[in-house]
């Protein structure tokens, strides 16, 4: 009996020692209270100025905390997704990373993130817009912090409208008529309707129409909605637009193909965020003065302003992190006013602040591109405030990831325009396919 007790005592002692050892391992601060350790940061900012900013933010943090080492790794979004999905299997994930709202939902689902309520409180909870925070919130735990936002608005060519004596369209029907009037292929297309199955552009376009009707592509109980009157009207609308004003090849267009057409001055209208400005500036600098943004068209001009699509790009801290306190402190440092504004200015008018006070700060507004496109920035800012990611109108859900990643809606459009499948039949089939895919989530 004594022997058994002795073994039990040893077992408990070893557990206590192991627990203490672990505590020591994960401690981020030395005896002086100084941060001490190495963290890895993954981000998706592959363009020059944004990439440079992340490195300089890391350098500044390391200068302030000499015992901290920050390793920065950069991946484009598609590669990024592959990295973390495979990384989760092998435990090779970073301490901090950027993410897309759909990624955040999936990561929460597999318990890969730590709540960041304390970081948000330190920065100032009231300073954030509510909707972007909600996209990463489950049961009052905030698993992501929005870093910047942008929203989809309508872009048009001022010179073309002026030459043709046409007004900026305010309703979907006006947009169709105006795009049709300007359509002059192969030199100029009224509006390209992208349906490529390697992307989510057709889903985005259908969402524009359905949201403007006050409906959503995902119902409150998480089912697909492609057969309501608004959805069917929306499908018919975009098919009509494709047939009348779009290049034939747009049936295969992805986001880049679509944007390039506008950048090259080959389409009169497009939908995009403020990133459109930089694209036109790089590809066709002579057209920069001829572009402007307008609010999303509505079904009737008198309809209320329903939020359409906002993209809030957040930062997350991974549960696997050995130094969560350092990771959180680094995230917090990204929101220091001067540095944060410098970051936003790396894509002026493209990245809008996630903090309300910064959006009105003269220091942020005092930038040449933001001033030049003040009308566009105002319209996008208003749209940011009301919209959400596609399918997240009723809160974060895994279904929203499926609806944008599986190309079911893209294939539906392709079946209609290429194989002449009747709209209602194609919509019913796609809705069923999506709901079957949602059911697979529970497997």
């Amino acid at each position: 009996m004594n022997k058994k007790l002795f073994v039990l005592f040893l077992l408990i002692l070893s557990l206590v020692i192991t627990a203490c050892g672990k505590e020591d391992d994960t401690s981020n601060q030395g005896s002086s209270g100084e941060f001490d350790g190495e963290i890895t940061v993954w981000h998706s900012f592959t363009q020059g100025p944004r990439m440079e900013f992340m490195q300089s933010a890391a350098d500044a943090f390391m200068e302030e905390h000499p015992k901290v080492k920050i390793k920065i790794e950069t991946f484009a979004w598609p590669e990024f997704y592959t990295k973390w999905t495979t990384g989760i299997q092998s435990g090779q994930v970073p301490d901090v990373s950027t993410a897309l709202p759909n990624h955040v939902v999936e990561l929460i689902d597999v318990d890969a993130l730590v709540p960041l309520n304390d970081v948000i409180d330190n920065i100032g909870r009231d300073r954030f817009y509510e909707a972007p925070l909600q996209e990463g919130t489950i049961d009052s735990d905030n698993f992501s912090i929005p870093l910047y936002s942008h929203a989809q608005v309508m872009w048009y060519r001022k010179d073309l409208l002026e030459e043709a004596g046409l007004e900026v369209p305010k309703t979907w029907e006006e947009l169709f008529e105006t795009a049709k009037a300007l359509n002059n292929p192969p030199n100029l297309y009224g509006l390209s309707v992208p349906m490529g199955s390697g992307d989510m552009m057709a889903t985005r376009f259908l969402n524009f129409y359905v949201r403007s009707a006050g409906e959503t592509l995902l119902t409150e109980d998480g089912k697909a909605n492609l057969t309501s009157k608004s959805a069917i009207d929306g499908i018919n609308y975009w098919v009509k637009m494709y047939n009348e004003t779009s290049p034939e090849g747009s049936v295969n267009y992805t986001v880049l193909d679509q944007a390039n057409l506008y950048y090259q001055g080959k389409s009169a209208f497009d939908f995009n965020s403020g990133f459109q400005i930089g694209g036109v500036e790089t590809n066709s600098p002579q057209l920069v003065d001829q572009i402007d943004a307008a609010p999303m068209p509505k079904i009737n001009e008198s309809d209320p302003d329903n939020g359409i699509e906002t993209s809030n790009i957040p930062v997350v801290v991974w549960k696997n992190s050995k130094h969560p306190e350092i990771a959180k402190a680094f995230v917090e440092s990204l929101y220091e006013k001067e540095e944060y504004i410098e970051f936003l200015h790396s894509v002026p008018a493209g990245m809008l602040p996630a903090l309300k006070d910064i959006a009105e700060d003269p220091m942020f507004l005092d930038e040449p591109t933001i001033q030049k496109f003040d009308n566009a920035v105002k319209i996008i800012s208003e749209a940011v405030d009301k919209g959400t990611a596609i399918g997240m109108e009723n809160g974060p859900s895994l279904q929203s990831g499926i609806i944008t990643s599986q190309s079911v809606i893209e294939k539906m459009f392709q079946d209609i325009v290429l194989n002449s499948v009747p709209v209602e039949e194609a919509a019913e089939k796609a809705e069923k396919e999506l709901n079957d895919l949602f059911d697979m989530l529970s497997r």
């Binding site: 999905t85 689902d109 192969p186 390697g198 290049p247 090849g249 295969n252 499926i402 599986q406 497997r443």
Partner: protein, 296 residues
């Protein structure tokens, strides 16, 4: 038995052991892990999974999209192989007749193989683009078409176009290998056949084909496996579309595995693919054996 043991070279075995272990790790492990996961609900990001035995196979084999992808794979492989063999063989016969600068021609013709798939895919996408693309604009300017055709968006054309791109890409491999085999044919055999009054067709069939058929057979085995499993060029050019017209089994498996994160189902697809290819290879090797026996 004792003699066998005496002949067993332990030192030799020790030397090849690392290679055997690497082969086991790199080849055997993925195959067995695929078979294992095909019987589970393995998800790409979720840590836990259950055994469902043959449920994934049932799901795949009752899915109409699987059959569409399967038929596309067979069409893609068959037409690509036939085209590559025809073009490669023709080019090899032509080059074999050229007495000078064969090396330069051969180098020029092998160029498609020097490009990474991503370069090939984006180049062809750009060439065929109906707005900026060189080919649709040229055809319109020459009056051959009334408006720019988008070859990759037209469901009647897209498959033919991607097969032609694959033929352009793969024919040089056939050409180089067949040309090497042609160079080994003794010229005396042709001279003897001529003296015996053989027709050109008889000479081609009984001498040329007989000498190169084993090389062609091996190329057919390898290319069938590669083309059937090919993912990059097709996916980068069309993404499997439009309307799944170019979705082959590897693309279908990728969409299920990475898009839906259903690694269990994707593994079941790859196991079916493996069994099918093993069957095809078995038939090819049977034929090759017969040819080799005939040659002896």
């Amino acid at each position: 038995m004792e003699k066998k043991l005496r002949n067993f070279n332990i030192t030799g075995m020790l030397f090849i052991l690392p290679a055997i272990l690497i082969v086991i790790l790199l080849l055997i492990y993925p195959i067995f892990s695929s078979i294992y996961f095909s019987l589970t609900t393995k998800n790409l990001i979720r840590p836990f999974y259950d055994f469902v035995w043959f449920e994934n196979f049932k799901f795949v084999l009752t899915n109409p999209d699987f059959y569409k992808a399967f038929v596309n794979s067979i069409k893609w492989t068959f037409f690509s192989i036939v085209g590559q063999l025809f073009v490669g063989f023709s080019a090899a016969l032509a080059l074999n007749r050229i007495p000078r600068f064969t090396g330069i021609y051969r180098t020029l013709l092998i160029i498609p193989w020097a490009f990474p798939a991503i370069v090939i895919a984006f180049s062809w996408k750009y060439i065929l683009n109906d707005v900026y693309g060189f080919l649709p604009n040229l055809l319109t300017q020459l009056g051959i078409t009334s408006s720019n055709i988008n070859f990759l968006a037209n469901p009647d054309l897209v498959f033919i176009v991607v097969v032609l791109i694959n033929i352009w890409f793969g024919a040089p491999l056939f050409m180089v290998n067949i040309l090497s085999a042609l160079k080994t044919i003794p010229s005396e055999q042709y001279e003897a056949a001529q003296m015996d009054g053989a027709s050109p067709l008889q000479v081609f069939w009984h001498i040329t084909i007989r000498h190169v058929r084993v090389v062609i057979g091996l190329l057919l085995v390898l290319r069938t496996i590669w083309i059937f499993n090919n993912f990059d060029i097709l996916y980068l050019i069309t993404g499997g579309g439009p309307s799944d017209n170019t979705t082959t089994l590897p693309i279908f498996a990728y969409k299920v595995g990475w898009g839906m994160k259903q690694l269990g189902v994707a593994s079941a697809i790859t196991v079916i693919l493996l069994l099918f290819l093993l069957g095809i290879c078995f038939l090819y090797f049977k034929l090759l054996d017969k040819w080799e026996r005939d040659d002896r």
